[in-house]
Amino acid sequence: MDILITGLLLGGTYALIAMGLNLQYGMSRIMNLANGEMLVIGGFAAFWLWTSGLVSPFLTIFLVAPVAFVLNWLIYIVILRPLVRRARSRGQLEVDSILTTFGLSFVAVGIMIATFGGDYFSYSYLARPVVILGENYALNRLSAFIGAALIAGALYLWLNHSRPGLAIRAIAVSPDSSRLVGIDVPRLAAISFALGGAVTAVGGGLISMFLTLDASTGVLFTLKALIIVIMGGVGDIRGTIVAALLLGILETFVATVIDPGLTLAAAYLLFVSILLLRPQGLFGRSPS
């Protein structure tokens, strides 16, 4: 029970981060391997504002979100759009965007190390115990989970029950046909890329409340988010949430029962079994 709840709390924050990646990969078709660095930047903003001005991370995320939105929008327009234009096939765009976003990720890590150093950063915010069902949990984990759940829920409703949300889901299914029904695909692709970056950065702000980060941990979160997105199905928000909660529980289980050093190995095992059994994702329909 203890494992289940801790896992769910962790998985909730993962869900938010993976939703950000899914908006970028599923909707605007850019495999963004610099996603984890956006998370670290969000986490760093929360850390810096808390330690220097005692600004609550819950306020910081309202600052982080628009900044990350604009930053990602610029990245898409300036760096990635030329690649989308020159790509002759989806395969070529994939190779190009993988190399480019790897480049961006390394540049981001390099700049962060140069400016802030490579130290771990963590801060203590709401580090009080709270009792659920007779067990103790850290209040910061619980509040980060609630924050993530609220944002993820709002995003889910927006995507499923609004016109822009519908348009974004349409370009996830078929960019070519979306153009025929009057959807401005290039503009919306840029917006969903930017939105994805903002969501991930907010997730970073929340996760920094209870996890220790450093300049180069981004890639680990990118990996986890990728595993979640593929497990849940590319472009499928509901699948992402379920997969994230599953991964959170699995990681907590492995860390408590076997060894904390094996969490990534466990995530990989899950990934391989998905690849072998259901490569289209948990809820995806079979391609044939």
């Binding site: 495999m31 190399l99 990996l223 593929i230 060894d259 050093g261 990534l264 990934f271």
Partner: protein
């Protein structure tokens, strides 16, 4: 075999023999750099053999390399050294088959993601196993010196070049060329695409493991974070792409300048190596999509075009 083909073989053999003379004429520093260059040449060339034609970006080099280093580190206590590189090669090929079976049937993105974490996965498992035995690292104490490692690597490079040359002329090489251009077409013309990719993926797997096994005596003390450094995978990708994967000798053209650049940067700005990697990636995508080889070809084309006009 045409005349041009046999001429290429002779030229390559002479160049390799010249390269093998380095330990007699070079200083200790030159030999150390030589080992590094030979190592990256072998890794990048075998990487390009698979990833060049198929466009599948493999980031598994570090995993195979680490597997090889550990083969030597563990095996040296029980077996004579000369048996270990071949054993590492077999293990590397087996691991490549396992990875390939899980991912090569799917699109390239799955493959990238899987190989990206593979080194970390193997590292976590080895660290976990070592926690039981209580030892942190392993010592590899041999009387193998730098020149010995260098000669072994040059020999391995000769094998890789010869193997690559053979693959390029075989049905497998032709099949891969078609897969790289259009996998759908390849499937429709009766090529077993998954099997072809799997077979070829064994080459970089085995070669990287052998390289790791050969370099273990250089490190002397082996621990997981050293053997499975993820940076290695990225360096190999950059060197191969920087040189260009269109020709067998392409990666070598990337390896030599990059090794010197890397040495210079890590001596004077040790914290900026990540930034360098990132900038190189961006340069490759935006300025050198076909590497130095592509650039040379373009210059040569322009040159010949100008002559015709004049």
């Amino acid at each position: 075999m045409t005349a041009a083909n046999s001429r290429d073989l002779v030229v390559a053999a002479i160049l390799l023999l010249l390269a093998a003379c380095l330990p007699w004429i070079g200083s200790t520093y030159a030999i150390a750099i030589g080992v590094t260059i030979a190592m990256y040449t072998v890794l990048a060339t075998s990487w390009a053999l698979f990833s060049g034609p198929t466009h599948y970006i493999s980031l598994a080099t570090a995993a195979f390399f680490g597997l090889g280093t550990y083969t030597t580190a563990i095996g040296i206590e029980y077996l004579p050294y000369w048996t270990l590189p071949p054993i590492a090669g077999v293990l590397g090929a087996v691991l490549a088959v396992l990875v390939g079976l899980a991912t090569l049937r799917l699109s390239g993105v799955y493959f990238v993601i899987f190989t990206l974490g593979l080194a970390e996965l193997v590292r976590q498992i080895i660290t976990w196993i070592q926690n039981f035995s209580g030892q942190r690292g392993l010592y590899v104490l041999t009387d193998i010196t730098e020149p010995h490692i260098y000669w072994q690597l040059v020999g391995l490079a000769a094998l890789v070049y010869f193997g690559g040359w053979l693959i390029g002329r075989s049905r497998l090489g032709f099949a891969l060329l078609i897969i790289g251009n259009d996998e759908e077409v390849a499937r429709h013309s009766g090529i077993h695409t998954a099997r072809a990719k799997l077979l070829l993926f064994m080459v970089p797997g085995a070669v990287a493991a052998i390289t790791g096994a050969m370099l273990a005596p250089r490190y002397i003390y082996i621990e997981p974070s050293l053997a499975f450094t993820p940076m290695l995978s990225f360096q190999v990708v950059i060197m191969a792409l920087l040189g260009g994967t269109g020709r067998l000798w392409g990666p070598l053209v990337g390896v030599i300048p990059f090794t010197f650049l890397w040495e210079a940067i890590s001596v004077s700005f040790p914290n900026q190596t990540t930034l360098l990697l990132g900038v190189c990636f961006l340069i490759i995508v935006y300025l050198l999509p076909k590497g130095f080889v592509g650039l040379l070809m373009k210059i040569r084309q322009l040159g010949s075009g100008a002559e015709v006009r004049a």
